[in-house]
Subunit: 345 residues, 2 copies
């Protein structure tokens, strides 16, 4: 194994990188002066400035983010706090990142729940550990609990139920669910089932509510036996679909609270030889890539995840500038593909 230049022993022990003291020594000035030059403060002779800059370039010095953010109040960095880099979080991050370009902030995505199994409360830990020094503000992705009493501005993406007093961004789950259900109604369906999500999550509550509203708006009867809990899980949805199809008067269409649940419905149709959409219409929510490659491709309600991220970034910036909190909702889009069709004759 070749030794990189500048590393003495090929191992990476306590080597600390080049510090402000190294630059000061090289330039023959004090660390304070180097700091002034680095931060463009007034009161440094241009000759000294040049000497320091030369030393900085020669040594490849960059101020340690840790040390400077510890001393300063602001680090110019916005934190994105998440439990793990799942597809939802990463799509939102792409939106944050795109919006952040050229705005003068660095982005730092921190996944602090990976180390220990403390699943609940990771967001509090992450905020405490990074807040106030390393990051000036945080965008928290789908937290498990209410966050309160933080020292920095927080924007919550996909908030838990009951969190309306702080800044939040989420898809318009209510309108999306209404549109999904209305789509089935427009196709002539009258007996429409709903496989709902995790009832402890606000998103699932709103999607169910949208379903109920759409039925009411169309003056269609609401049959409680047609709503089962799939908990956003494919395996649970399989059970739900079986029960639904075993009903004496089964539904002709199912609105699934998410695409994973819809996949479960596909499974059951395959096992029973039911054709989609001829025998049963299926609509999902989220628009995951897996839905595209299904046969037929899944009709679903797409979330605009990058837009959620962009909104989150704009909101956190405005809060950093002294602006107030807000609760933002992002429009969804009906993706009419192959899994929904007219009611069977």
């Amino acid at each position: 194994m070749p030794v990189p230049d500048g590393v003495a022993n090929g191992q990476f022990t306590s080597q600390r990188g080049v510090t402000i003291h190294d630059v000061a020594r090289e330039a023959g000035v004090s660390p304070a002066t180097v700091s002034k030059v680095m931060n463009n403060r007034y009161g440094v002779a241009s000759a000294t400035q040049a000497r320091v800059k030369a030393a900085v370039t020669k040594l490849g010095y960059e101020a340690s983010l840790v040390a400077s953010s510890m001393r300063r109040s602001s680090s110019n960095t916005i934190g994105v706090l998440l439990a793990g880099f799942d597809p939802f979080a990463t799509e939102v991050i792409k939106g944050i990142s795109a919006e952040a370009v050229g705005k003068g902030y660095e982005l730092l995505a921190y996944s602090g729940a990976i180390a220990d199994e403390r699943a609940v409360g990771w967001e509090h830990r992450s905020i405490q550990r990074l807040g106030g020094s390393l990051i000036d503000a945080a965008i928290v992705m789908t937290p498990t609990i209410r966050i309160s009493g933080t020292a920095i501005p927080i924007v919550t993406v996909d908030p838990p139920a009951g969190l309306t007093d702080s800044a939040t961004i989420a898809s318009d789950n209510l309108a999306g669910a209404r549109e999904a259900t209305k789509h089935l109604i427009d196709l002539g369906h009258v007996r429409i089932a709903h496989i709902r999500g995790r009832t402890d999550l606000l998103s699932a509550q709103l999607r169910e509510q949208g379903y109920v509203q759409a039925l009411a708006e169309a003056r269609l009867p609401y049959d409680p036996s047609l709503t089962l809990t799939g908990a956003y899980r494919r395996d649970w949805a399989v059970d739900c679909a079986r029960k639904l199809l075993d009903l004496p008067y089964p539904p002709t269409a199912i609105f699934c609270a998410n695409d994973w649940s819809a996949l479960g419905v596909y499974d059951v149709c395959a096992e029973r030889g039911l054709r989609i959409p001829e025998d049963l219409s299926v609509i999902g929510f989220d628009d995951i890539p897996e839905g595209h490659v299904l046969a037929p491709p899944l009709t679903t309600i797409a979330q605009n995840l990058p837009e959620i991220g962009a909104d989150a970034f704009r909101l956190i910036r405005s809060m950093l500038d002294g602006g107030g909190s807000d609760n933002i909702t992002v429009a969804t889009t009906l993706m009419h593909r192959g899994s929904t069709g007219p009611v069977p004759a």
Copy 2:
């Protein structure tokens, strides 16, 4: 706007969060004792321990990552350094994150190129700023330059040309390109063009090399006029495709260095009324989602991005444990979809 508990004025000024001193005061001990309790050091009376723990819980204290990593040598955190959260980087991160679960490390993805326009050299800056204190090691995504003389172990994903002396992970671009070309040859094609990528990148060089090798292995003539530079860009590829099809003896198949280039070929076929694959076979590289929804869906060489991430994590861990550097190559997969077929009669 409601005021979160614990924040005095509704604004988030210099509020610093709860420190070790607050806990010490609350428990009636010294900060050092609190530190010992937090880090499970021996030599603390169990009564004191209980008192400190109670104070910690009451105040919701978590040690500042910045302060502790500044004092310690290790922070237990692995950094993922990137220019921005693009699709390539995020897919790899998913793999890193999945592999990191339960291994006792935190993950910190830092995008330091967003703030200023210093496109080249962002990786050096990020390493200097975070290395040695905030992160114990770094996985650097597609750097623009050679990295050398770092104080911490570095693994490079998708390295630039000429970087073989340090730890690297990349797709097996050579074998993938060979397989793509061979696929076309097996279909009976003899006149196969190549729209190559950015010639300054190692990946593009290897893909072109694989194309040439496959031709040689099949004892097919290599015609330099059939290789044009698309620079991984759709618009450039459009020009390339036009030139290729205007040739007196045009190719019957095109191997594109990436899927974006293949999209450009699709554009040209549409504008000229050429059918894919009846009139022209097209194969790409990367397997981006956009390729799935094309008509016909794009045949391509899929990179196993999550596997690249997982390998990167494993390698960096082994280096942290004193292991040596390595150059790892990850297998690609031919995705035979609709855009390649037998040579036109």
